[in-house]
């Protein structure tokens, strides 16, 4: 039904502009702790992680913790009867069993009452075999499933698998060194400011994030002098004020003078002339230039600077 038609105008010219910070506008902002969970006294580490997340107080997370003995028995029963199809982590298995963590039945079930008829064979036509299991064992299995579902992370993410994070070092250090020599040595040096950078920032992913941004979260990292954004304001009379930029909008610019006092100056269109100097700007200008391979190669080189 999708109508294809002619294609008009594509793409546009870039305009470079200075800019300070960014942020995701995406929803999961700061939110109060997970009250329901805290109130149950549920002590697992995941609860603390969730608390810091959004208000993930859905019934699956509000549920009080299951009786540990029941959970343990349920885990064993699950391993024997369910795991080959639904996976050890409940996310579905090679034999085609669906992901239980997001199953409508599991999410709506309280104590096995919705799961019981399915185990007894209600979905044989969908390929779910009938399994001989007592009502108590179904309840134990359901308790185990709910325990795992309850440890899911915010925004639909599954529980931690426990697998170590992938190694992000996929680049070629020699190629990265060449790129570094061509593009970076105007400001940086492997034997100067970046000497020992891989010792100071041993985690390769952190190192990559920092060098691309020009410092931690784009705010400068290794050399405190480099992160100061300065502004020069020149009045039509030629009078000039210079200092550290505090804030700027279309109408006012505020700067810190050398003695620490603040000066706020009115802006009216192009007057007075305002020039912002941000030491991170060269990094920002490169964001649209890098290929992902550039990133990976330079990181592979930088991790050698121990």
């Amino acid at each position: 039904m999708q109508a294809s038609g002619r294609i008009v105008g594509v793409a546009l010219a870039g305009i470079t502009i200075l800019l300070i910070h960014m942020s995701g506008q995406t929803p999961p902002v700061a939110a109060p702790a997970n009250q329901a969970r805290a109130a149950t006294g549920r002590g697992r580490a995941a609860a603390a992680a969730d608390a810091a997340r959004a208000l993930a107080t859905f019934p699956a997370q509000q549920r009080p913790p299951g009786d540990p003995a029941l959970v343990a028995r349920g885990k064993t029963i699950y391993g024997i009867n369910c795991q080959s199809c639904h996976g050890a982590d409940l996310r579905g298995g090679d034999l085609g069993g669906p992901n239980l963590l997001r199953s409508q039945v599991v999410l709506s079930d309280q104590n096995g009452e919705l799961i019981l008829p399915i185990i007894q064979g209600a979905r044989q036509s969908n390929g779910m075999p009938a399994i001989s299991m007592s009502a108590d064992d179904v309840k134990a299995t359901a308790t185990f499933i709910h325990e795992i579902v309850g440890s899911s992370k915010g925004q639909g993410a599954p529980p931690d698998s426990g697998a170590p994070p992938p190694n992000i070092l996929v680049g070629d250090a020699a190629v990265g060194q060449k790129f570094f020599t061509e593009k970076c040595t105007g400001c940086h040096s492997a034997t100067g400011d970046l000497q020992g950078i891989a010792t100071r920032i041993p985690d390769a992913k952190t190192l990559q994030n920092r060098w691309v941004a020009g410092g931690a979260n784009g705010r400068g990292a290794t050399n405190p002098d480099r992160r100061i954004v300065t502004v020069t304001v020149t009045q039509p009379s030629g009078e000039k004020v210079e200092g550290r930029l505090i804030r700027i909008d279309d109408f006012l610019v505020t700067l810190a003078n050398a003695d620490g006092t603040l000066t706020t100056i009115r802006r009216d269109g192009d007057q007075p002339k305002v020039e912002v100097k941000d030491p991170i700007q060269p990094h920002r200008d490169l964001l649209g230039v890098y290929t992902d391979k550039n990133l990976h190669d330079v990181t592979a080189y930088l991790v050698t600077l121990k």
Partner: protein, 544 residues
């Protein structure tokens, strides 16, 4: 200039109730937007364009603060309480992201679990309704819908609540979606004739859908799923399996627009799930990230156009469609315009769904290799989250997020904010089954290529002008355009700013704090007002 506290209110409520709250005929919303603000976007076109002209490029500098008032969320004071929950969740500080309604001298505004009626002349609270929640994700509430003297509010725990607009008393509440399935509801219901159209949302792989309710009784009229739910459903061949399609997302986050002649409700859908990882095959994953038109009486889909095929960055396309009647290619045409979170702007024929324009408005947008055979942007798989990291603009937050745009017929321009930031996206879950929801990736922001108020020529898709925001993150909570040739928007630096629609040049501003919603305008006692929110505070400006 006065600020009122709750203590002052109770004395005045009875008097106010006798004088106000006349209600709203559904047909009033078919009229061009002028004296009131009766629905989320003002009118059904989504243009957020008012015909009022008292405030124009010359007079706007005379805008004066009439009043400001703070609202206090939660179950305290003189509050009408409803809800199915225990009520022991802390309410927090209200943040108004909703578009307020203004009807007959009364303002109706909402935050998650809360609704207020406020005297538009002096900012006094007339009533406050509080909903005791069962939990759920409390991100935002986009506003209320109105039908005669009834109001409609969606709650985070997925109820459609109907209130008496005169008293704030609850008439009924009906469940929109199941909280156990982890749905949470933020949209403003849109009232069309005898339909209350309600969207919802979800992050854990549940199917998106749109519902229509009877405004009198709350009975469900129809429910339209936005992903294939049954064998043989259209779009199923774009998924690896029916199970995957049924867990494919496409949420209905944002209120849509309505074309009364075609009787079509036009809205955008959210991202597919899992959002960032494999697990959805290689198909387009219909009808995620699409502009969709459904018949208002039946809920049946008339056409769709996919704006982010097989999205891999949580760039939902739920952004407000803007309906424009205008010249296109030398001929008059009925169109729908939308600027998506993925950095692309689209024009389609809104009667047939025929694709007319795709253009890149995100200056740094770098994830697409060109256009696919339908005219939508083709994804570069190399920019999917990867083990070594992929540097991508925009961020998952998008070039634009939920904030509604505006359109000026005088200028022929579509206005949106534009954030050209970069993130590195790492794939952290290598499981071939894919992750779930928004899991399986790590996103690190690494800098911004710019932030702008941006005007797009709808006839070409080209940028007419960009007004840079020197402090970044402009656009506040959305836009308002008027026949006075003025565009209002928050600048991200704590100002509400009036711009020249032709150039973007600032004409007036007031430093009221960070703007959190899209402004409204209306006429009261012969004077044009401008209403805008900063967090828990409403600011009412007018020309005396």
């Amino acid at each position: 200039m006065r600020i009122h506290t709750k203590f002052a209110i109770s004395l005045f409520v009875p008097i106010a109730l006798m004088a106000q709250g006349g209600g709203l005929e559904p047909s009033d919303m078919l009229k061009p937007l002028k004296d009131s603000w009766p629905t989320y976007n003002g009118d059904y076109t989504g243009r957020r364009y008012s015909l009022l002209t008292q405030i124009d490029q010359t007079t706007v500098k005379n805008l004066t603060l009439g009043w400001f008032t703070k609202v206090a969320a939660g179950n305290g004071g003189n509050v009408i309480v409803g809800g199915e929950g225990t009520g022991n969740f802390p309410a927090g500080t209200a943040s108004i992201k909703a578009s307020a309604l203004e009807v007959d001298g009364t303002i109706y505004v909402s935050t998650p679990d809360n609704a207020w009626a406020i005297d538009a002349r002096d900012g006094r609270e007339l009533w406050h309704y509080f909903w005791k929640t069962r939990g759920s994700t409390h991100i935002a509430n986009r506003g209320l819908g109105m039908w005669h003297s009834y109001l409609f509010l969606e709650t985070p725990d997925n109820y459609l609540v109907s209130l008496d607009s005169k008293t704030g008393k609850e008439r009924w509440h009906k469940e929109i979606a199941d909280i156990a399935q982890q749905y949470f509801s933020t949209p403003a219901p849109v009232v069309i004739g005898n339909h209350v159209i309600a969207g919802t949302g979800n992050d854990i792989d549940a199917p998106g859908f749109l519902s229509s309710f009877d405004p009198e009784t709350g009975a469900l009229q129809w429910k339209h799923y936005t992903v294939p739910m049954n064998p043989g459903d259209p779009g199923l061949d774009t998924w690896p399996s029916l199970d995957r399609a049924q867990h494919g997302g496409a949420q209905t986050w944002i209120p849509g627009a309505y074309d009364p002649e075609a009787n079509l409700y036009i809205f955008g859908t959210g991202n597919p799930t899992p959002a960032y990882t494999p697990g959805r095959g290689e198909g387009d994953n219909l009808f995620t990230c699409s502009l969709i038109a459904v018949n208002v009486d039946t809920g049946k889909m008339a056409w769709y156009f996919q704006t982010s095929p097989h999205d891999m960055h949580d760039w939902d396309s739920a952004q407000t469609p803007v309906l424009v009647d205008g010249m296109f290619g030398g001929k008059p045409r009925k169109m729908a315009l939308t600027a998506s979170r993925n950095g692309f702007f689209f024009v389609v024929d809104r009667v047939t769904g025929e694709h007319l324009i795709t253009s890149k408005y995100g200056k740094d947008t770098n994830w697409s290799t060109g256009l696919n055979k339908f005219g939508g942007p083709a994804r570069d798989p190399g920019k999917d989250p990867s083990i070594g990291g992929s540097i991508v603009s925009p961020t998952a937050g998008g070039t634009i997020n939920w904030e509604p745009p505006a359109f000026s017929p005088e200028a022929g321009l579509f206005f949106t904010s534009e954030n050209d930031a970069y993130s590195i996206f790492y794939l952290t879950d290598l499981d071939p089954r894919g992750s779930m929801g928004l899991g399986g990736k790590e996103e690190v922001s690494v800098g911004n290529g710019g932030s702008f108020l941006t005007a797009i020529d709808y006839q070409t898709g080209k940028i007419a002008w960009r007004h840079p925001y020197p402090q970044g993150l402009g656009g506040g909570g959305g836009m308002l355009a008027t026949a006075g040739k003025v565009l209002f928007a928050g600048d991200g630096g704590g100002n509400i700013v009036a711009h020249d629609v032709f150039t973007g040049a600032p004409l007036w501003h007031s430093k009221i704090g960070r703007v959190t919603n899209a402004p409204q305008t209306y006429l009261l006692d012969g004077h044009q007002y401008l209403l805008v929110a900063t967090g828990d505070t409403l600011w009412s400006f007018l020309l005396y």
